[in-house]
């Protein structure tokens, strides 16, 4: 079975990083943005209200404004609420009224009653950002919500089409759907760890996104894979050593599970990139840089192979 080749040359304009909770979405998205920014200007868009990706890079951002990390990397926080505000400001020509509306609690309730609108406008913003990025030859990496919520978020365009059979929103919904389904503009990265439930969720996510929204999965990134240290004979010799043996077995087992899972992902047509477990007392910028280097080497390597 040949897997889709993953390399810098084939990466879509927007990489949407999702996965089961706790698999390291923010870490992977940040490392990916660091890797990408070595070759091209990159924007890391944080959809997480807690802005973990920005925090990891040691910058703070407010909704909608970008913070510079390096010459070729910036972080931007995107919030659904801010997108709605911007949209209202666009369509309500009198600023005094639009500002007043946005401040009113009543308006908050009304927009809450227009479900999905905020999320939809967020997707529309991503589509526009992708267009701008293409003009500037800039890339976007998105630190997205966990897989369940991510599917809900991305499905919202279809919902808007259903309730709005004509008009501006309907046309916007069409462009958003086309954007998500275009593998040169939008692709998904699924994070997982060497754990059965994370794998099941990864496989379901890939299938749901493909079947329901025609979204292409670029790759699975298997996070926290320990490097192998012991061979089978060594493990056998260790068995009387109690906790030391258990720690050695744990490391090897994790490694084996990761390989088995990469095979199952490959059977589903998904390429896997491994990221090493960082055995360090803290996850800081240095660790992220290292993970970024691993990803850059991996994507670079595959690039040269495809030539």
């Amino acid at each position: 079975m040949t897997l889709p080749r993953v390399s810098f040359a084939t990466l879509p304009r927007v990489l949407f990083v999702t996965g089961k909770g706790g698999t390291g979405k923010s870490t992977v998205a940040t490392a990916l943005a660091l890797a990408r920014s070595r070759r091209r200007p990159t924007t890391l868009a944080d959809l997480d209200r807690r802005m973990s990706a920005a925090a990891m890079l040691g910058v703070t951002t407010v909704d909608g404004t970008a913070a510079t990390v390096t010459k070729s990397l910036e972080v931007i926080a995107l919030g659904a609420r801010a997108e709605l505000d911007a949209f209202i400001a666009r369509i309500v020509p009198i600023r005094a009224i639009s500002r007043r509306m946005l401040r009113s609690r009543t308006f908050g309730y009304v927009t809450a009653a227009l479900p999905g609108l905020e999320a939809f406008l967020l997707l529309e913003r991503l589509r526009i950002m992708a267009g701008d990025a293409a003009l500037e030859d800039r890339y976007l990496v998105i630190d997205a919500p966990a897989s369940g919520s991510a599917l809900e978020l991305l499905s919202v365009a279809a919902g808007v089409k259903n309730i709005s059979p004509t008009g501006t929103l309907n046309r916007l919904a069409d462009s958003v759907a086309a954007f998500l389904a275009d593998p040169t503009r939008f692709g998904m990265i699924i994070t997982l760890t060497p754990e059965e439930l994370a794998l099941r969720e990864a496989l379901e996510t890939e299938a749901n996104m493909r079947e329901q929204l025609s979204i292409t999965t670029v790759a699975a990134i298997m996070n926290r894979v320990p490097d192998s240290l012991f061979d089978t004979a060594e493990l056998a010799a260790l068995s009387p050593l109690g906790i030391h043996a258990r720690l050695a077995v744990r490391r090897s087992a994790s490694q084996e599970v990761a390989s088995a899972m990469a095979r199952r992902l490959a059977n589903a047509g998904i390429a896997t990139i491994n990221l090493p477990m960082m055995f360090t007392p803290a996850m800081g910028i240095d660790e992220l840089e290292q993970l970024g280097q691993v990803l850059a080497a991996e994507l670079q390597d595959r690039l040269s192979k495809t030539r």
């Binding site: 309500v92 009653a113 479900p115 999905g116 501006t168 240290l229 744990r250």
Partner: protein, 376 residues
């Protein structure tokens, strides 16, 4: 596990005194596992237990070996736990179910609608049909409804609720109040919903806002306001039923025999989130009964045993490296646990669940996690 730095090592929760356990926490910390473990453990101790998951990814049912699309309660076999005499009692049982918000919503509409016509008006409303699943907060509200139903069943001793991964603690617990707020807000008058208890005087800003919203509707082509208005208006005759249920839900959450527990792991980002949860709950006057730190690594030994072992030197070197590697992870964990600081609320129990060393994928694994929740 060195917890000297963290306050109040406490005993476990007394599950026999509880009728409801609500597990809250950020995503990926094992809430579902902990919920299932509570339920399995209580059932093994002779209680009649219902465990409900709201997670769109039905991991609980996975872990309990059930089919993913069962919306009806499914009886879980406790055969594997039959070693305990109490679990042999006729009374003991464990049922699991996954919430289907759409179905529950339909049932609620049918229950509270003043007439069949009112019911059909809602069920056929475009907004309701297309978006009642996506409507933020509706699933949460429905979960609270379902919860009240389960909890009021006299044949059930304990209900354990696994909540969806939340960004903020109150997203879930506050859902009934938010829906009521919406129904009872000036938004309804703003939308021009007909009379009843919603009729209010409009302020100037509302009149302006209404005009703008109408324009918004026209520009966007949504023609949505009319439907939103009909939707919200159709709740008119049902407001009191909803209000009573929302009050009941709030009371249940504050009852003596309810325990709200926050689940986290010892990862720095999760601990920070858990602290925010605790603070939010305290602000809302909701008592946190326990903070559960899941998957905590065992204390690392020193290298003495390696040095004295009769194994090749090269292997010793590898073992020492392995020990140092996992020791570093353990240090990372302890640093984040220290960050818990004094944020544990008064009277709350701190429970540390040791890492199983494998994923808990069977009932027996869940029972083991359950035991570690009970014994300290």
């Amino acid at each position: 596990m060195n917890l000297k730095s963290t306050p109040r090592q406490a005993e476990s929760l007394d599950l026999t005194a509880l009728s409801l356990v609500v597990c809250l926490g950020p995503g990926g910390v094992g809430k579902t596992t902990i919920s299932a473990a509570f339920a399995v453990d209580a059932a093994a101790h002779g209680r009649a237990v219902d465990v409900m998951t709201v997670d769109p990814a039905p991991r609980l049912l996975d872990a309990l070996g059930l089919s993913a699309d069962s919306a009806e309660p499914v009886e879980v076999s406790l055969d594997i736990l039959r070693h305990s005499r109490r679990s042999k009692s006729h009374h003991a049982r464990l049922r699991a179910l996954r919430l289907d918000p759409k179905r529950t919503f339909d049932a609620i509409i049918a229950r509270y609608a003043p007439s069949n016509a009112a019911r059909d008006a809602i069920l056929e409303n475009r907004i309701y049909r297309n978006l009642s699943n996506a409507l933020a907060g509706v699933a949460d509200y429905m979960a609270m409804e379902e919860l009240l139903d389960l909890a009021s069943n006299p044949a059930t001793d304990l209900v354990v609720l696994d909540t969806p991964p939340a960004v903020e603690a109150l997203d879930f617990l506050d859902a009934p109040r938010r829906l009521l707020d919406l129904l009872n807000s000036r938004a309804v008058s703003l939308l021009g919903a007909p009379g009843g208890i919603f009729r209010r005087r409009l302020r100037v800003v509302d009149i302006a806002a209404r005009a703008v919203l109408a324009a918004f509707d026209r520009i966007t082509g949504l023609n949505l306001l009319r439907d939103v208005q009909a939707f919200v208006g159709s709740f008119d005759g049902m407001y009191e039923g909803f209000a009573a249920r929302a009050t009941a839900a709030q009371e249940k959450l504050r009852a003596q025999d309810t325990a709200i527990v926050i689940v986290t792991t010892a990862e720095a980002s999760r601990i920070a989130q858990a602290r925010e949860f605790i603070e939010a709950l305290e602000r809302a006057d909701l008592r946190v009964a326990a903070l559960i730190v899941n998957r905590v690594m065992a204390t690392m030994p020193d290298g003495a045993e390696i040095s004295s072992a009769r194994i090749p030197a090269a292997l010793k070197k590898k073992l020492k490296r392995n020990l140092a590697d996992y020791g570093a992870l353990k240090t990372r964990e302890e640093t984040s646990l220290k960050a818990l600081g004094d944020s544990l609320p008064k009277d709350a129990v701190l429970m540390v669940v040791p890492d199983l060393g494998r994923e808990p994928l069977t009932i027996a694994d869940l029972a083991e996690v359950g035991r570690s929740l009970r014994s300290r």
